[in-house]
Symmetry: C2
Subunit: 575 residues, 2 copies
């Protein structure tokens, strides 16, 4: 059966070329083991319906897994991290936002020269494995990481300040989903051309025949630079995208957020060793705040690709390197409330999205536009002031709800964010809500603080028109929806945006808003309520960052996220 | 039937989404007319076997087409070019390399401001057409251009110096093939995600449902900068790739090579007008050697994409722009002769490739590596000197063959190339063949000159290790194949290469050469003979330029050539 992208044989809806089957030469044939899930993953990418092979509910896992992991984390504290190539230098400076004490874990540090020499050596063997071998092995690694989800969750909590459930889901199943998505896209993109064809051109009196082959050649060693808030979720897409394309990878974590990704890398290295491959195919490149090595690595000519999540300043620097780069930077995520069915529900949805993990999500809404004429609702017209009151009440209600507040907010990852939050009242505009310490029942020292809500006018762009990372929300009063939309579009073009929320009950207006914001390469989430939150970008369905505005130049996971990591080369043989 | 890349309905092996069928709103439904050829073209891209819908033999067209075109060209000389938006300024400075007189054709010139204002206006309408509308219309334009192949051939001859047959094939059917390839890849890449899905996530006690859509949003106005030697073949891939992605396009031709691409653009504009669309969707942006406008256009913020073919210096400048760029620059194409079946045949094949259009092809071999130990042949061992004699005799034989010489060589496009050729004997090394005027029976003033053949040593990299555009060939004597390969790989990495020719009868050595050169992202053509020449890159099968070394950052036509021109944006609606 021949399909468009599948010039040869099809099995289970997915192309497998018989000419390649013999390439599998490792003791355990992980490709055979995982080919069904890989085929389903490829199909899921192109269908974009809901799919995940890693359950997001902790209840789907062993009953004692959580308790065991909690205990293991307590034992890991103040110990050297085991499972990575040892070194004489051990460094670590993570501080738990919940405990506000150092967790005391140290990681083996290797010099930049050593890391690059190891990587260059490993590139020889990894670069010559087949894409199917890599796909099998990488999917197996995700299976093994699945067995460590609870360990990764506690590690994530105590370096990022994410509450326990988010730590589990974001660094566990959701990160694995994104990693598998990259593997599946990589497998599919690297098999779109046949491995070999006979090309026969009729020349009139004779045929010109050539034998041709097509190879996806890896670009080389990649560097993936992690961030402090999502040390796994934002790191694994680049790591797995590199690896599936045959590119050996160095992971340079944020020095304050190492443990969760160290567990992931240790699992990968263990599996590589078992499979007779070089464990340095993926290495942890730790550094310290006092002696950062990121630029030294990024600028080294041995590094061909750089993935980065973090600030605009550093992201712009990464993009300026003469390399293949993939960035996720900051932006100003806007929200627009034009007309709603239920004002209270909308305010609640917005408050949840803004407060979730204390607004330390790149997808969180920050700047809310409301026309001075107010909002049409199914309960009648709400004046602008009434809308502000609804939102303010929703924020307060969420924070003060003992079952929600501290759990939704989690903790502030750093003192820098706390300072920014505490200074927000001085930014200008009217302080609707100021921040206060929020009691966390489990962790008495937790760095948990309620959000700041500020009211500003359309003219105050210097206040609301930049990212204010953390739980700070601006309500912008505009003349009308037209002005709101113009500012939102202009901000998306100049500052970037990862998300845009919109509540509007008029289909024509929605269509216009969609067109305008899409032209600035911002996706719009309309009329979210219930369990739908703008923060969440689901793998296999939602593209995370479009790559089209200053919020980043890459997208999890479109074809570019893969195809920029290798080069198609076609050879021809006279016959 | 559901395939991997085709989540919905399949017809004729190609995905057509029923949800999009209603988008066709133009008087003539060109998508319906051409959907079969488009489906076949998409299949051909992924099968990479021989395919072309535009016959390359002039005999496949009307018997009097050539004579009519010759007459039409004579009438066009010294006249203003009709068929493009008129202007009060008319410029033109093309000189026929065959006649060595100006052809006197002038083209309407518009100011940069006017060009950009026209383009920005046209972007509104073109950007909102459906990809199927664009695909239909663009395929129709290629059908109409097919009716102008002979006009384009004479135009190409008299600005590039290509002989008649190459002018016909390269600017006619082969260029159309490349344009259709871009259209087909663009249609396929922009329909890989469904237009709309319902996303249903089981949440335990309830389902979370969202309606999602996926849009390929055009990046905006593109600029395509043409070259003087292949004004159509190297220009149309970028033009059609832009247009299929919804990006309005400005074509800035080389001021010495305008007429053939002017005919193409006039056909496009005529069709756009007929279809009720803005003819400025594609504009000709002519300038003069004295007052070039390329940088002014390229740097303008309205220009989002730049395609370029030409020199390394300008190409590096284009790549440095903060835009999406696609470059084809120069390189040093190497050849290696290790062992052959028939030395004379190999020397003849190499001579043909080096002399074809006087070496003014980006794919022509330039630097030939031969070990001092000579070459193994089926007729016995050839010493190094005997191999040089064979090659020299093949060059001389070709040049002196009255049926071949002038016809293969064509004419030198510019005096700059003639000067470079005439100075080649002073580069250093041993002059095996110096250049001489070659008589052209049809055009007595033709700028046709025989090639220079130089012998150099491996140490003379400053001589042979850079592009010497035109009919100059270097034979490099090395210690052994290992040294040859090392230099070839190093040159590919430092200077770039579009092609590599290799003659070697040992399969293991071929495999090693392939691996080494592929690692530098250079494709290798092995053991070419008969009608197989390294110069020729066939659409739908051969990737032209890999994009992985300094010879260029783009490839005709891999997925990147398309996907970098638009942005996937996904919107979500609560339901």
């Amino acid at each position: 059966m021949v399909g468009i992208c599948n010039p040869d044989q099809m099995s289970n809806g997915f192309l497998i070329r018989t000419t390649r089957i013999n390439y599998f030469c490792y003791p355990m044939n992980y490709y055979d083991k995982h080919k069904d899930v890989l085929a389903t993953a490829v199909a899921a990418i192109y269908q974009r319906k809901y799919w995940s092979p890693y359950p997001e509910s902790p209840r789907a896992y062993a009953e004692d897994a959580d308790a065991k992991a909690k205990e293991a984390f307590a034992k890991q504290m103040n110990q050297n991290f085991d499972g990575l190539t040892a070194s004489t230098n051990w460094v670590g400076e993570e501080v738990s936002p919940f405990l506000q004490t150092g967790i005391g874990v140290k990681y083996p540090q290797h010099s930049v020269d050593e890391l690059l020499a190891n990587a260059t050596k490993a590139q020889q063997s990894w670069g010559s494995t087949s894409v199917e071998t890599r796909a099998g092995l990488l999917t197996e690694s995700l299976e093994r990481i699945k067995g460590r989800f609870f360990d990764i969750a506690y590690a994530t909590m105590h370096c990022t300040g994410q509450a326990n459930m988010m730590s589990f889901q974001a660094s566990g199943p959701h990160a694995n989903d994104r990693a598998l998505e990259a593997v599946a896209m990589g497998l599919q993109q690297q098999t779109i051309f046949p491995a070999e064809v006979e090309w026969v051109k009729p020349m009139g009196k004779f045929d010109l025949k050539l034998r041709k082959n097509y190879k996806s050649v890896p670009k080389g060693v990649g560097l993936v630079i992690g961030c402090s808030t999502f040390p796994v979720w934002n790191t694994v897409p680049g790591v797995y995208a590199n690896l599936i394309c045959g590119n050996v990878t160095l992971v340079k974590p944020h020095p304050k957020a190492v443990l969760p990704i160290a567990i992931v890398i240790a699992e990968l290295q263990k599996l590589l060793t078992e499979a007779g491959l070089d464990p340095n195919t993926v290495q942890l490149a730790v550094d310290t705040s006092d002696a950062p090595i990121t630029k030294q690595l990024a600028e080294n000519k041995a590094i061909k690709l750089v993935d980065f999540t973090g600030s605009n300043a550093f992201g712009d620097y990464v993009e300026s390197l003469p390399k293949t780069t993939f960035t996720e930077k900051a932006g100003v995520n806007c929200a627009l409330i034009d007309s709603v069915a239920d004002m209270k529900a909308v305010a609640g949805n917005l408050a949840f999205s803004a407060c979730l993990y204390s607004g330390q999500m790149c997808t969180a809404p920050q700047t809310i536009f409301i026309a001075e004429t107010g909002v049409k609702t199914s309960e009648g017209h709400f004046s602008y002031d009434e809308v502000v009151v609804s939102i303010s009440e929703a924020f307060t209600g969420l924070v003060n709800n003992p079952k929600m507040g501290a759990n939704i907010l989690g903790a502030l990852q750093s003192d820098v964010t706390l300072n920014r939050l505490q200074n927000a009242k001085n930014l200008g505009g009217k302080v609707v809500l100021d921040t206060a310490l929020v009691k966390n029942e489990e962790f008495e020292n937790s760095r948990t603080h309620s959000p700041v809500l500020l009211e500003v006018s359309a003219a105050d762009e210097q206040i609301y028109g930049q990212e204010c990372f953390g739980p700070v929300t601006f309500i912008v009063k505009t003349s009308n929806i037209k002005q709101s939309l113009e500012i939102m579009q202009e901000l998306a073009v100049s500052k970037g945006a990862l998300t845009c929320s919109c509540w509007c009950t008029d289909a024509d207006k929605c269509s216009e808003i969609e067109t305008q914001m899409n032209a600035a390469f911002v996706p719009v989430s309309f009329n979210f309520g219930g369990a739908a939150f703008v923060n969440s970008h689901a793998a296999f369905s939602d593209l995370h960052v479009t790559g089209g505005n200053p919020a980043g130049n890459a997208s999890f996971t479109n074809a570019d996220f893969i195809t920029k990591r290798f080069v198609w080369v076609g050879n021809r043989y006279g016959i």
